[in-house]
Every structure is written in structure tokens, then in C-alpha cells.
């Protein structure tokens, strides 16, 4: 278990402000935020590679804030893999074994298990420069996992890979996590990766932790406009707080499926807005509007619809666009299911 309390780091041009975090054993924890939000910084601080200005880091109750990195018993996999260029794949994987009290037999078994799982058998005598991105990633993972770290830290493991390889790696990470039971802490700027992999997470923005909780919570109940945007609720509006389960959005009356008080933001995923030209949807807020813009995203379209003073963004499949003959200027009807609306 990792506990980060009140961690503050000042760097020229950036600071991490009083971060609090708790990662339970066997969690797949995600630190999520846009580029430059300080999430990799937090990872390096947990690893002990960065001097800390204030606050403590505890591993299983033990204060490790001042422990040098080599004695923390944590592992890290860098985004650029950081493989040793002068050593072959086998020597890279075995690099750390001598510093850990691992019996010869056990380390050999683990080595064989990892080489099999990661499919590295044919690469053992190769040098890192000759490997592809995906192969490097697997070597870096093996090098860290052979030491059986208490926690494995992953710095943007997916972002340097091709989309094809990203899928493979996601499945690999998921099955490694399930099989080994190691606690994983992953840094990511892409919420859809996190959704697939992690069970808990925290959203960081400009050096501050905005929200922490289960991924489900983050996904369904973001607590700030930034978090809402980040988890895919592209429609974020300020609302006039009303009584009960109805709110007013710039003159538009909107029904919620539960009463709220004190909330002044409304958020909504674009794919939840239903294309409903015949007005047949039930249990929903129904509006007539004009299509302002269509953006082709391949499988689906981003559709911008103006309803009175409000512009909604919806995502509809190409099939829907073609079937309903939608194009800029078309008048159409949309339905917004009550249970898809989120306020905070």
C-alpha cells in the first residue's frame, strides 16, 4: 500500500501542490491528466528520483520519503523504456537480480516465466537498438517484474506505441496484473486506456489532484468541469440551480432523474445524445435544433447541434447520419435521456 501525504515539490516553472494519494494492495491505479499536469513528477517522487520539499510517502506503513530509490523495493517502467544500450536483452532483464536476495533457482524460474509470457525467447541475445517499440516495452516490463517489486510504476506505457501494439500491451498488462497480483500505478493522459485497465485512479491538473476514487466514479461522477471534459463529457455547461429535479440551462428547461441542490454545472457525454428525428424517444428531454457542423471521425461523426442558445455536441455513427440525411443546416430532433445527465 502506498500512501502519499501532503507531497509538495517545487521545480523551476512547475510545482506539485500538496498531493494526497492512497493506493491499496493489488490496485491497478491510474494517475490521469493532460501533458504537463505533473503526473510523471509524482511518479518519480514516489520512486525516489526527485527531491521532495514537503510531505511524506509511505509504503506499507513505512516512511520511505528519505529512502534512496534502490532500497524502496519499487519498480518503474519508463515511457522511453530506458533499456541499457550496452547490454543484450537477457543482461538487461537480469540487471537488478544481484541486488536482491533472490535465490538462484527462483530468479531462473521467474526469468523463464517472464520470457515465456512476454514472448522474448528469440530476442535474448539482441541489443536494445535492434528491437521494436513493443519488444522494448516487454523487455522493460520483464526487467522490472523479475525483482517482484511491491509496486510497479508505469510511465505512460501506451503512448509511444502504434495503435495496434497498444491493444496487445493493454491485454498484456491486464493479464500480468491479474496473474501476478502486483500493485500497478500507471500514468496516462488518455481516459479510454484507463477505463480498460485500472480499477482506481486520480485526476491531476496543473500540479493538483482534482479528484480520486474508483474509475467508475471518475467516469460517471466527475466533480469539476476539467474532470468532466477529461473523462469524455464534452458537453459541460453552467446551469442556474433550480429546486428539485429540474434545472435551467441558458433558458432551456432540463429534467433530471433525481433532485439536486447547490450544483451549478451540467455535463453530458456526446454519445448519450440520441438522434431522434421522429420524436419517439420516451423518458427523455426532447428538443428541436439545427445542425451547425459535422466532423467526420471515420466510424462516427462529431455533430454540433444548436438548440436555441445552447450548442450541444453529439457523436453519431455514420449509419445514422446517412439514414437521416443529416448535413449542416438540417433541422432535426434530439433526445437527452434523463439518466445520462450529470450535475455537480
Amino acid at each position: 500500500m502506498i500512501e502519499v501525504n501532503d507531497l509538495t515539490i517545487h521545480l523551476p516553472g512547475f510545482s506539485l501542490k500538496s498531493a494526497n494519494l492512497k493506493v491499496e494492495d493489488h490496485d491497478f491505479f491510474a494517475l490521469i491528466g493532460p501533458t504537463g499536469s505533473g503526473k510523471s513528477l509524482l511518479l518519480e517522487a514516489i520512486m525516489g528520483l526527485l527531491p521532495v520539499d514537503r510531505g511524506t510517502i509511505r509504503l506499507n506503513g513505512r516512511d520511505i520519503t528519505a529512502t534512496p530509490p534502490e532500497e524502496r523495493g519499487l519498480g518503474i517502467v519508463y515511457q522511453d523504456y530506458a533499456l541499457f544500450p550496452h547490454l543484450d536483452v537477457k543482461a538487461n532483464i537480469l540487471f537488478g537480480v544481484r541486488y536482491h536476495a533472490i535465490p538462484e533457482k527462483e530468479s531462473q524460474e521467474r526469468f523463464r516465466f517472464l520470457v515465456d509470457t512476454m514472448n522474448l525467447g528469440h530476442l535474448l541475445t539482441r541489443h536494445p537498438v535492434t528491437l521494436s517499440g513493443g519488444e522494448k516495452q516487454r523487455v522493460a516490463l520483464s526487467r522490472a517484474l523479475i525483482l517482484n517489486p511491491g509496486v510497479l510504476l508505469l510511465d505512460e506505457p501506451l503512448s509511444a506505441l502504434d495503435p495496434m501494439l497498444q491493444d496487445d500491451l493493454k491485454n498484456l498488462l491486464k493479464s500480468l496484473h491479474q496473474e501476478l497480483g502486483t500493485t500497478f500505478v500507471m500514468v496516462s493522459h488518455d481516459f479510454s486506456d484507463v477505463l480498460f485497465l485500472a480499477n482506481r485512479g486520480a485526476i491531476i491538473h496543473k500540479g493538483e489532484i482534482k479528484q480520486a476514487g474508483t474509475i467508475q466514479e471518475l467516469f460517471e461522477q466527475p466533480g469539476s468541469p476539467f474532470a468532466a471534459q477529461f473523462v469524455g463529457m464534452k458537453n459541460v455547461f453552467s446551469i442556474t440551480p433550480c429546486n428539485g429535479s429540474a434545472v435551467t440551462l441558458n433558458g432551456l428547461d432540463i429534467q433530471l432523474d433525481h433532485p439536486v441542490t447547490g450544483h451549478d454545472h451540467l455535463a453530458l457525454r456526446p454519445e448519450e445524445i440520441v438522434c431522434d428525428p421522429n420524436g419517439s424517444a420516451s423518458g427523455a428531454n426532447r428538443f428541436a435544433g439545427t445542425i451547425k457542423k459535422l466532423v467526420n471521425r471515420g466510424f462516427y461523426y462529431d455533430v454540433f447541434i444548436r438548440v436555441q442558445e445552447v450548442e450541444f455536441m453529439a457523436q453519431w455513427t455514420r449509419r445514422e447520419i446517412v439514414k437521416n440525411r443529416l448535413e449542416p443546416g438540417t433541422e432535426t430532433r434530439i433526445a437527452i435521456p434523463r439518466n445520462s445527465l450529470h450535475t455537480f
Binding site: E70, D80, F95, G96, Y99, H127, T130
Partner: protein, 247 residues
């Protein structure tokens, strides 16, 4: 358009290497004075390189890894000896260590002499050679991503293990290259050495003496051997400065 420049380099050296007769070259090698001068040049250059390595390696590491106030100034100071006229270097070192200076008298009392001694020559050669060593090794350290050292630490290796298992194996080519460049520069120094020590005579001084005393032809035979050593070092340098091959 650029051919004159290339020719200016090729022809004198080519002529120099081809002109002396083989028998003269061999007989020059049999002279004790010549052999001693060449040996002395090589010995003092290697000694200066050793000194540069001991003191210069940590300096290069610090310059490559740390940021501190005045770093630019230190960088400038390291480059400075390359640009100072060589006799001036000799005079400057004599001014500091000479028999009439405070430092010189202190050294005199413990029996160390600078003027006209091997010690003096080595000090001069460190002065002119060290910048080449430090700059080359610094570039080497800079080329080792700090990430690799961090990764090594996270795998359980301490700072010393990390240096010897990660940093050094990547940077050793630059260390050798820097040492070769330092030696080559030191072995060819003349202007500063002749001020500090006309005797004991190093090869460049001997060449100069023979040229002034006996003329061109007589000096060429010694020059040939010195140039041969320089070329050997130069070829080593080119070999080590090749980019690391991908295995």
C-alpha cells in the same frame, strides 16, 4: 575552389614523410639523443594524460550532470588554454612556479623543481592537454541519458554500481578518445615546453635545435618519427570517434 586548402595539408606532410632516406631515418633512430627525446616526449605526454584523467574525469562528470552558478565561466576557463599563445603559457607557468615566486620557493624547499625539469614539462602538458580530455569526456557523459542511471537505481543498484555498470561502459570510448587526444596534443607541444625546459629535451625541442643548428635536412629525420607517432595517435583517435556500431 577548395583544392588549394586540401593540397596545403597533403603536400607538406606527404613530402615530409617521403623525403628522408630510409638509411638516414634508421641511423637517426640509433642516436641516443633522438631516442631519449622521443621517449621523453612520449613519457611526459602520457604522464600529463594520466594527471588529466585523474583530475579531469570528475570535472567532466560534474560539468555534464550538474547545473550551478558560474558553470558557463568554468566552461570558458576549460577552453581557454586552447586559445592562449604557447610561449605565453610557458611564461605564465614559470611566473607562478618559478624560483622567484612564493609557490616556486615552497616547491623548491620540498625538492620539486619546475624550470628545466620533467615535472615542469608535465605541468605544461597538463595545461595544454587537459581541455581536450575534459571536453571529450564531458560530451560522453552528456550522451548518457540520465534516465538510464535512474533506471539502474530503481533496479537496486547504488550510485557506485550504477557508475561502473551503466555510465562507464557507455562512456569508455569517449574516455579513451579523450585520452588519445590529450596525449596527441601534449606530445606535439613545443612553444610552452621550450620556455619551461629547453633541457631535458623533448622531441619537438630537439627538432627545433637541429633545425637551427644543422639545417632542414638534419631535422627532418627526427620530425619523421615524431610525425609517425602523431599519425598513429591520430588514426587511433579517428577509430574511437566513429559512431558506436549497432550490434
Amino acid at each position: 575552389m577548395s583544392l588549394p586548402l586540401i593540397f596545403l595539408i597533403i603536400f607538406p606532410l606527404g613530402k615530409m614523410l617521403l623525403m628522408p632516406e630510409f638509411s638516414d631515418l634508421m641511423s637517426a633512430l640509433k642516436e641516443r639523443v633522438v631516442l631519449e627525446a622521443l621517449g621523453r616526449s612520449l613519457f611526459t605526454a602520457l604522464a600529463a594524460t594520466a594527471v588529466a584523467m585523474v583530475f579531469g574525469t570528475p570535472l567532466a562528470y560534474i560539468m555534464a550532470r550538474k547545473n550551478f552558478f558560474g558553470k558557463k565561466v568554468i566552461e570558458g576557463l576549460i577552453d581557454l588554454p586552447i586559445m592562449i599563445p604557447h610561449p605565453v603559457i610557458g611564461i605564465a607557468i614559470l611566473s607562478l612556479f618559478g624560483r622567484n615566486s612564493i609557490l616556486g620557493r615552497m616547491l623548491d624547499r620540498v625538492g620539486v623543481e619546475i624550470m628545466g625539469s620533467l615535472t615542469g614539462i608535465v605541468i605544461v602538458l597538463v595545461f595544454v592537454g587537459a581541455p581536450f580530455y575534459v571536453n571529450t569526456v564531458k560530451a560522453g557523459f552528456e550522451s548518457v541519458p540520465i534516465r538510464l542511471e535512474k533506471a539502474s537505481r530503481t533496479l537496486g543498484a547504488g550510485m557506485t554500481s550504477t557508475f561502473f555498470r551503466v555510465t562507464f561502459p557507455i562512456v569508455w570510448r569517449n574516455i579513451v578518445l579523450g585520452a588519445v587526444m590529450c596525449t596527441a596534443r601534449a606530445i606535439s607541444e613545443f612553444g610552452a615546453v621550450i620556455i619551461v625546459a629547453y633541457h631535458p629535451m623533448t622531441a619537438p625541442v630537439l627538432i627545433y635545435e637541429r633545425f637551427t643548428a644543422y639545417g632542414l635536412k638534419y631535422s627532418q629525420c627526427v620530425a619523421f618519427w615524431l610525425i609517425a607517432i602523431s599519425l598513429l595517435l591520430f588514426v587511433m583517435m579517428r577509430l574511437f570517434s566513429r559512431p558506436r556500431r549497432i550490434q
